[in-house]
Each structure stands twice: as C-alpha cells, then as structure tokens.
C-alpha cells in the first residue's frame, strides 16, 4: 500500500483566527479514514484546504508525491481528488443525467470547433459520456430519475447523486463532507454499505467527515480527531473511543 496523501505542517488563518494549525495527516491507498471533531473544530476548513478552495497559510499538501497546495480546485480535481459538500451543492435546475454529464467534462477531449460543427470526435465522445453517465446512475439506483430536476429529488437521493457526480470525475481520493447528515438510521445503514462498496468497486481511498459516531466507528480504519484546529488524536476506532482527551473534547470533563 502506497502513501496517497500527506500533509506537512498545514495551517490556515483567517485574520487572527487560526482555523487549522499544524494539521498533519497521512492517508494510504485503499484506506477509509474518518475526520471527526466537535462543531467548529476546523474539519470543513481542512477539506477546503485539501481541495484548493482555500490556500494554506503555511505548509504543504502532497498528493501522490506532488505538492498540490496553492493549486486551484479544478486542477486538484483533475489530479484525482473529488469531494461532496456538507450542504449539498447539486446543479439543482438541471436533470440528474446532466449533473453527472458535467462531471465527465474533464475527461472528454474533443475541440471547440468539433463541438460546434458536430464532427470528428464529438459524436463518439458524447455517446461515451451519455453511456457512462447512465451506467453510473444505474449503479447508484438513480436510473429511474435521470430526467428529473436534481432539486426535486428526495434528500437521500440527492446525497447519492452528489457522490455519483463526484465519482464521474474518476478520483483516486474521495472526500465526503458529512455524508450522513440529515439521514435516518436506516439511510445511514445503507450509506455505510455504499461507502464500502464504492471503495471496493472503484478502488479508491476515502476520507470522510462525520458526526454519526456509529458510522465512523463502523467503517473507518483510522480516525483523526480535530479540536480547535489541531489534531487531538489519531488511531483505530477502538482507541479513539477510549481516548480520554477525545471524550473530554466531545463531552467536557466531569468535575
């Protein structure tokens, strides 16, 4: 198993507020890693650093050995990191199929004149995009809603669509920002199975932020705990569960 992602003393300040400090994590190929922490601990900021939404104040992010800090989000996606958002960001007015087709844009390489004249590679590649988008939607049991507007889907399906769309960019690392937020226990159970299935089916590595401890403890191989922008603990679920510092951060101390 090779090292997929590594951060070197990563930190981000907004004015005087140190949102993330000395954030050091490493992820190996094929792992499912959890990033947990109380509200406001800096988890989403860390995600935004990894995906290029924010530029790190100091430090480096090495993805497959290459420094990606300071690169733009679309460049990072092109290098193989895809993400979903805490507050779902679908292309609401567009159909489910179009949502996924947009994510395939990066992987088609017909030229602008070919698109306008509908010649050359255009037809073949559009057909490939269409086929693969439908294939992906079938895998995620969304084939019966391909023509629906994304905003009209029930919540659980919107979450699934967002993951399907992220996978269309063909990532090697998938970042999920609170995938179980707003789901009922049964949906969470299904999600858990889906995350495992995605990892095996698409052979990728997953880093997820989650508040649902049952989910995190169940599927993550390792967990990082973030509190006040710093890594508080790291380890396998069993260790994290019994770590006094973690319990203190979540529940406070008994006095």
């Amino acid at each position: 198993m090779g090292r997929l992602l590594e951060t070197v003393e990563l930190s981000k300040s907004f004015g005087g507020i140190k949102a993330v400090q000395n954030f050091i994590i490493h992820i190996d190929q094929g792992e499912v890693i959890g990033l947990i922490g109380p509200n406001g601990a800096g988890k989403t900021t860390a995600f935004n650093l990894l995906t290029g939404v924010y530029k790190p104040t100091t430090g480096q992010i090495l993805f497959e050995g290459k420094d990606i800090s300071g690169k733009k989000p679309y460049q990072i996606t092109a290098m193989g990191i895809a993400r979903t958002f805490q507050n779902i960001r679908l292309f609401g007015e567009l159909s489910v199929l179009e949502n996924v087709k947009i994510a395939f844009t990066m992987h088609s390489n017909y030229s602008f004149p070919e698109a306008i004249l509908r010649l050359g590679r255009y037809g073949k590649e559009e057909q490939i995009i269409d086929n693969r988008a439908r294939e992906l939607l079938t895998m995620f049991k969304l084939e019966h809603v391909t023509d629906e507007q994304a905003k009209n889907l029930p919540y659980g399906q919107q979450r699934r669509l967002e993951i399907a769309r992220a996978l269309a960019t063909e990532p090697r690392l998938l970042l999920l920002d609170e995938p179980a937020a707003g789901m009922n226990p049964q949906e969470t159970q299904e999600l858990m199975e889906m995350i495992r299935w995605i990892r095996d089916q698409f052979k990728l590595t997953i880093l997820l932020i989650e508040h649902d401890m049952a989910l995190v403890m169940n599927i993550c191989e390792r967990i990082y705990v973030l509190d006040y922008g710093k890594i508080l603990a790291e380890g396998v679920p069993a260790d994290i569960k019994n770590n006094p510092a973690v319990i203190k951060a979540y529940l406070g101390t008994e006095e």
């Binding site: 092109a78 844009t105 990066m106 602008f112 698109a115």
Partner: protein, 324 residues
C-alpha cells in the same frame, strides 16, 4: 440510446424548417407582398434575434449579468464598415472580422471583469459598453459624433436570415457540448462546478467571447443595412433593450431569446403609427408579462423539450387507456 442519431435527425428537421421559412419570406419580399416598412422590421427582427441569442449565452446560460452588449455590437458595426469601405473586403469576410474584433475586445474586457459577480459585473459591463461608445465618438477617422456614413448597403434579407440561423446553430451546438455544459454549471453553482474539474474562468470568458462575436456580426449587418454607423445606436439603452428581449423570452432559453426578440420588435413596429401611446403600451405589455409569467415566455425550457414532454404525456395517456 444513440445520442448522435437523435441529434442529427433533430438538426435536419430544424434546417428544413429554416429553408422553408426562408423561401416563404423571400418569396413574399420579392413579390412585394410585404411592404417596405415590414421588410425593414423583418431584417431588424433577425438582427435582434442574433443579439438576444448571443446575450442569452452570457446572461441566461452562463448566468453572468452583462449590460454591455451594445458596445460589442458597435465594435462589429464599425470594424466591418471600415473593412468594406477602406479595404474593399468581401462582405462575409468583413462581418467575420468585425465579429472577431468584438470577441477580442470581449476577451480583453472579460478577463478582469468576470472576476466580479452579479450587480458588480452588471455595472462594470455597463461602463465598458459606454467606454467603447465614447471611444468611437472621439475617433474622427470614423466620423466621430456625426457617425460613419457612406457604408455600402450590402445587408439584405438573405444575409440576416442565414447569419441568424448560423448563430442559433452555433450556440445550440455549443450548449449541447462539454463547453456549454461548463457554462451552465457556472450558472448553477460555481463552487460545485470547480470541484467537478471545470475551469470556471475559462467557461465565463468563452461565453463572453462567443456572445461578443455574434453581437459584432449583428452590428456589421446593422451598419451595412442602414449605410450608417452612429454612436447613438449603441447606447446602454440599446443594451437594456436586448436584455429585455432575453428576459421576456426566458433567461437561459434559446427558444425564448428568439420569441422575445421577435415579439418585442413586432410590438415596437405595430405601434409605430401611435407614437403618443407607443411606450405606454410597450411598458404595459412588459408589466403584464412579468406579472403573469415572471420566468419569461419559456422559463428556461426549450421548445423542443416542451414538445417532447407533451408527446410523452400523450403517449402515457394512451397507454393508460389501453390498460383500462
């Protein structure tokens, strides 16, 4: 599902429809069934459709609120006029150069201004359009404030009609490609778009350049129809007028841009005999439309999609009938 086959069939149907429309109108014009007044209105309609469709690409499809379309039109009008008058270039080539000049200005202006969003972009593009106009106003070589006169009258119905058809096909094909989808994704959610690997700056500048290109072509057709290019034809009020067409038809809808441009040109022309109440009725039409259909005639739908949906519903109805 074979994507290309469906597209080809649809394209051929549209092309056939264009040819038939062209033949009917050119017959009516040649036989002088249509008065010279309405002939002028038809030419204007085609030019306005080009302007509305190209503005729709920027405002409706890419969601970048631009108010500088008349500026791009001015660039095309003057540059193409200079090409035919001074360099004796063939009209088609002059139009193309005029369009490319407008696209070039569009890119130059687009790269810094497209960092702005919403209201700020609207104000910046409004200013940009005015800067173009005032610059032209101060170039004596192209007539300055009195306008450029003596432009050969080369535009006729055939030119405007086919320029319109080319514009519509160009933008339609662009929208149905990865390039157009990038533009739409910028409108829908720029953050998600960039997370999907889409270079949003590139998509915005591309839309701006293509929009400016066709505005420039429309400007060239305009100046070669009236034999004059005058700065007062390209004020921000004109930009507003094209925007009104787009909003009226439905932001983001190609069919809407066509209907909006045709409808507004028609209303303006039909009321030409009643100058006192013309603007009142014009405004009333707009207010009523915005009250009863605020999303525009077509919303952001296309005519073809509505047709498909209707067919599906009818088919579904039949199926139910058989089942019972």
């Amino acid at each position: 599902m074979n994507v290309m086959k469906t597209m080809r069939r649809y394209d051929l149907a549209l092309l056939a429809l264009s040819v038939v429309t062209y033949l009917i109108f050119s017959f009516l014009i040649d036989e002088r069934v249509i008065s010279s007044f309405w002939r002028l209105q038809i030419v204007l309609m085609c030019i306005n459709v080009i302007l509305a469709a190209s503005l729709n690409l920027i405002n409706g499809i890419t969601g970048q609120f631009s108010l500088g379309h008349a500026g791009f039109m001015a660039v095309g009008a003057y540059v193409s006029a200079v090409m035919t008058m001074w360099y004796d270039l063939p009209f088609g080539l002059a139009l193309l150069i005029g369009g490319l000049a407008a696209a070039f200005i569009g890119i130059i202006i687009g790269i810094p201004t497209l960092r702005l969003d919403g209201d700020y972009l609207a104000i910046a593009t409004l200013g940009m359009g005015e800067i173009i106009r005032i610059t032209i106003l101060n170039i004596p070589a192209v007539g300055g404030a009195s306008g450029l006169t003596g432009i050969p009258r080369l535009t006729d119905f055939t030119w405007v009609f086919w320029a319109m058809i080319i514009t519509l096909f160009f933008i339609k094909n662009m929208v149905n490609s990865t390039f157009g989808r990038s533009c739409i994704s910028v409108r829908e959610n720029a953050i998600a778009a960039t997370a999907m690997g889409i270079n949003t700056t590139y998509a915005k500048v591309l839309a701006f350049a293509v929009g400016a290109l066709f505005a420039g072509v429309a400007g060239g057709l305009f100046s070669h129809y009236f034999s004059i290019a005058h700065p007062s034809s390209f004020t921000f009020l004109n930009s507003f007028n094209y925007l009104t067409m787009v909003v009226l038809g439905g932001l983001g809808s190609m069919s809407g841009a066509i209907v909006g441009a045709t409808l507004l040109t028609f209303i303006t022309a039909a009321l030409a005999d009643y100058p006192e109440i013309r603007m009142i009725i014009y405004a009333l039409c707009l207010i009523l439309l915005m009250i009863f259909r605020p999303q525009g005639v077509f919303g952001n739908q296309e005519f073809s999609l509505l047709l498909q949906r209707l067919m599906k519903r009818r088919k579904g109805g039949k199926g139910n009938g058989q089942a019972s």
